[in-house]
Assembly symmetry: C2
C-alpha cells in the first residue's frame, strides 16, 4: 500500500489492545473505542487515537476491526443505534476477530444484507496466540470470507499475523469461526488441565516451580501450560490476562454446537462444568490459572517439598502422566470434531501446533490421527496402552489421596472405553457415533 | 431353631444399630461392640448387651456379625490383637455385612485359613435398603459363601432380610461383594443426582418441596431421591444418616475395580470427583444429601417460586428430564459392569429394583437391557432418542444459566457417543470395549 489507511478498532482488552497498538507501531492511524475509560487513556499514551463513540470510531475508516468479547457485544457494537455501521463508509472492510459461534458470524453477513449494507466486506477472522503475539503482530488467524473481501482485507490480516500463520479456511464466512471452535476444544481442555495438574502436584507435596520445569521439558508440554503456569506460580489472577468467563464463553460455543449436531465432547463438557463451579466461587473475572484454588488454598510456589529426590521424580512423573493422558484425548476430541464438521484437518494441525491449543501430544499423535480419519492409513496406528497405563498410575494415586481429577478420570474412561488394545483408531472411533 | 443362639455384633452405625436392635427385638441375646460410647449406651437402652471389647463381644458366640464401615476397619476388628477371632469359638459363623472390595472378602477367607481358623464359617454378605429396613429386618442381602457356611448361617441372613430379598450369589465368598459393587454403581450415581437435580431446580427458581413431589410421581423416581430428599428439604446433614465418606468408599471400590479390569465407569467416575470436591469443602462427615450446597447456599425448601404455573411445570419437567437421563445411563453402567464381571443379571435386576439402587428407569429399561446383554434379544431395543432430546433440553437450559451439571452432561455425552439412532443396544455397546 502506498499510503497507510486509517483503521477503526473496538474492544481494547488484553488481545485487542495488543493488536491495535501493534498497528499503531506499524504506522497506521488507529482510532480505538472501548467502554473502559482507563484503557482509552492507555491507548492514547501508546499513540492511538481514542474515541468515546463507536460510530465516530468508524467514520471514514475503510478498515474496521471488531475485537469485543462476545457475539452479543459484537451485535450491539456493529448493529447498535450508534454502532459501527452508522459510521462505516461505503465499501469498507469489517473484520470480526472475536471468538463467536460460526452461526453468529454467518448471521452478521446476512444482517448486513438485510439492513442494506451489502457494500461492507465482512471477514470472519478469529485469532489465537495470546497477548504477546497480539502485540507483536504474530498471531495465528483463521479467516473465512468471500474472495472479494479477502482481496481487499488480506493485507490487514497479514499485518496482524505471523508469516505462515494466516489460515484462509475454505467455506466463506463461518469457516474461520468453526476452525477457531475446534481449536478451542484444545484450549478449553488444556486450561483446566493446568490447574488440575498443579492441584494434584500440590497435594503430592510438589513445589509448583519444580512442576513447571519438569512439565515444560516433557511430553506433557502444552502452550497453555507454559503460558498459564507463569501466572499460577505468581498467583497473578486479579485479573491476570484471561478471565474464566472468556473460556466459559468458548466452551459454551463448543458444547452447544456439539449438542446441536449430536456430537460428543466429553472432556470439553467436563471442563465446562468445572468452569461453572469456578464461576460459582466468584472467580469469573479472575484469570483462569487461578482455578488451581479449587485444589489448594496455598500458593503452589510456596510448597516446601519434603520428598527424597527419588520420590520427587516419581511424583513429577505422575503429573506428567496425568497431563499427557489428558492432552492425548483432547487431541482426539478436537480432530474428530473438526472431521465431523468437515474442516480440513491438515490446516487445523498446522494452526494448532503453533497456537494456544498446541501440545507435545497433539504435535506427535495428532499427526498420526489425521491420516486415520482421512482414511489414508490402513493401520489404526499408535498403540496407546502404555499411555493408558501411565495415566492409570496417576489416577490410582489421586484416588488414594482423594484428589479430584475431573479431566484425568474422563480421559482414562475414554481410553478404557476404546478397549483393551486401545490405539489411535479405537480412540477416534469413540467420536464417530455408530 | 429351638433355642435362640447368642449373637455377637460390631459396628453399631446407622445400619448396624438397626440390624442389631432388630435381632434384639426378635428375641436374640445380642452383644454389641462399638468404639463410640454413647452408641453403646443407646444399644443397652434398646435391650442389647454392650461390650467394650471386641474379643469379649465374640466370646462363646456361635454367630458374629461384622458391620463396620470399611475393609480396613474389618481387618482390625477380625484379625486385630484383641479382635473378634480372639474370642470366637470353634466352628462359629462370621458374617461380614460391610461393603468391601470382593478381593478383600476373599482375603478374609484366605487369612482365616492362614491363621489356622479354617473352622470359622465365613459369609460375605453386604446389605442394602437403608436404616429403616435394617431396623425392621427387611434388608436386601447379597451373600456369597461356601455351601457349608450357608447351611449354618442362612437362617440369620433370613432374620435380617425381607422374604425374597435374600440373594444367594453363585461363586462363593466375593460374589456377594461383587453384586453389592455393581448395585452401588446405581447408588453412587443416584446420590449425586439428587443434589444435582435439587441444585439445578433451585437455580431455576423452583422450591424443593415442589421438586420432590413432581419427581417422586414421575419416571425420574429413584429410591435415593425419595430417601435423600427428605434430608435435603430438612437440611438434615449434620450428620444426617449417610456420610459423604461412605459413598466415597463405595465409589472407590467401584472405580478401582473397574480400572484394574480396564472397564469404563464414566458416570461413577464423575460422581467420585464431585464427592472428592465435597470432601474438600469439609463435608466428609455430613450427609451426602448436603452436597446440594455445591449449587446453592440457600435451603431449597425456602425458595419462593415466582413462576407462572406453566413456567413452573416446564421447569419441573427439565429437572425430571435431567434425572431420567442420568438414571438411564446409570442403569446401563451398572448392568454392563455386572455382565463384564460375570454376575447373573436377572439377580441384579431383582435385587436393585427393590433396594437403594432402584429407579423407575432401571425398572423399566433395565428389564430390556438384560436380554440384549445376554444375547437373547435380536433387537437392540428401545429407541432412546426421545429421552436424549429431553435431556438435551435440560442441558441447554443449564448452560444458559451457567449451572454445572456434572452427571447430566456426562450422560448426554454418552448418549451422543452411542450415535444418532441411540437405543439400548448402542448405549450398552459403549461399555463393551472393542
Amino acid at each position: 500500500m502506498s499510503t497507510k489507511p486509517a483503521i477503526g478498532f473496538c474492544g481494547l482488552g488484553a488481545m485487542g489492545f495488543g493488536m491495535a497498538t501493534h498497528l499503531v507501531k506499524s504506522g497506521y492511524a488507529v482510532t480505538g473505542f472501548d467502554v473502559y475509560a482507563p484503557t482509552l487513556e492507555k491507548f492514547k499514551a501508546a499513540g492511538g487515537i481514542p474515541s468515546t463513540s463507536l460510530s465516530d470510531s468508524a467514520k471514514e475508516k475503510e478498515y474496521y476491526i471488531c475485537m469485543v468479547a462476545t457475539a452479543q457485544q459484537a451485535q450491539t457494537a456493529i448493529f447498535g443505534d450508534e454502532g459501527i455501521l452508522k459510521g462505516l463508509p461505503k465499501g469498507a472492510t469489517l473484520l470480526l476477530c472475536s471468538t463467536v459461534p460460526s452461526a453468529y458470524a454467518k448471521s452478521v453477513q446476512k444482517e448486513l444484507k438485510d439492513v442494506g449494507r451489502e457494500d461492507v466486506l465482512f471477514i470472519d477472522a478469529p485469532v489465537s496466540g495470546g497477548a504477546i503475539r497480539a502485540a507483536d503482530g504474530s498471531l495465528s488467524i483463521m479467516a473465512g470470507a468471500s474472495p472479494a473481501a479477502f482481496e481487499k482485507g488480506k493485507w490487514l490480516l497479514e499485518e496482524l499475523s505471523a508469516p505462515a500463520k494466516l489460515f484462509i479456511v475454505e467455506g466463506g464466512v463461518g469457516a474461520g469461526s468453526n476452525m477457531k471452535m475446534v481449536h478451542q476444544v484444545l484450549a478449553a481442555i488444556h486450561i483446566l488441565a493446568v490447574s488440575e495438574a498443579f492441584g494434584f502436584a500440590a497435594r503430592l507435596g510438589l513445589n509448583g516451580k519444580d512442576v513447571r520445569e519438569a512439565v515444560i521439558e516433557s511430553q506433557a508440554w502444552s502452550w497453555m501450560f507454559e503460558n498459564r503456569s507463569v501466572r499460577t506460580l505468581g498467583e497473578d489472577y486479579f485479573p491476570g490476562a484471561s478471565a474464566v468467563l472468556i473460556i466459559i464463553k468458548d466452551t459454551g460455543i463448543i458444547t452447544s454446537m456439539a449438542r446441536s449436531l449430536g456430537f460428543s465432547t466429553p472432556l470439553c463438557s467436563i471442563a465446562e462444568q468445572v468452569y461453572f463451579s469456578a464461576l460459582d466461587r466468584g472467580w469469573g473475572t479472575n484469570d483462569d490459572a487461578g482455578i488451581v484454588r479449587l485444589w489448594t488454598a496455598d500458593p503452589v510456589s510456596n510448597i516446601q517439598t519434603k520428598l527424597s529426590d527419588e520420590d520427587k521424580k516419581a511424583k513429577l512423573d505422575l503429573v506428567i502422566n496425568l497431563l499427557s493422558g489428558i492432552h492425548l484425548c483432547a487431541a482426539a476430541e478436537s480432530i474428530a470434531f473438526a472431521k465431523h464438521i468437515g474442516l480440513p484437518l491438515p490446516q487445523l494441525y498446522e494452526l494448532a501446533i503453533d497456537a494456544a491449543g498446541g501440545s507435545a501430544m497433539f504435535k506427535e499423535l495428532g499427526a498420526k490421527m489425521i491420516p486415520i480419519l482421512e482414511g489414508k492409513s490402513g493401520e489404526s496406528g499408535g498403540d496407546l496402552s502404555a499411555l493408558a497405563e501411565k495415566l492409570t498410575s496417576a489416577i490410582n494415586e489421586a484416588q488414594a489421596i482423594r484428589c479430584p481429577l475431573y479431566l484425568g478420570n474422563g480421559a482414562l474412561n475414554l481410553l478404557a472405553q476404546a478397549g483393551k488394545d486401545v490405539d489411535l483408531g479405537s480412540l477416534l472411533n469413540l467420536y464417530a457415533g455408530r
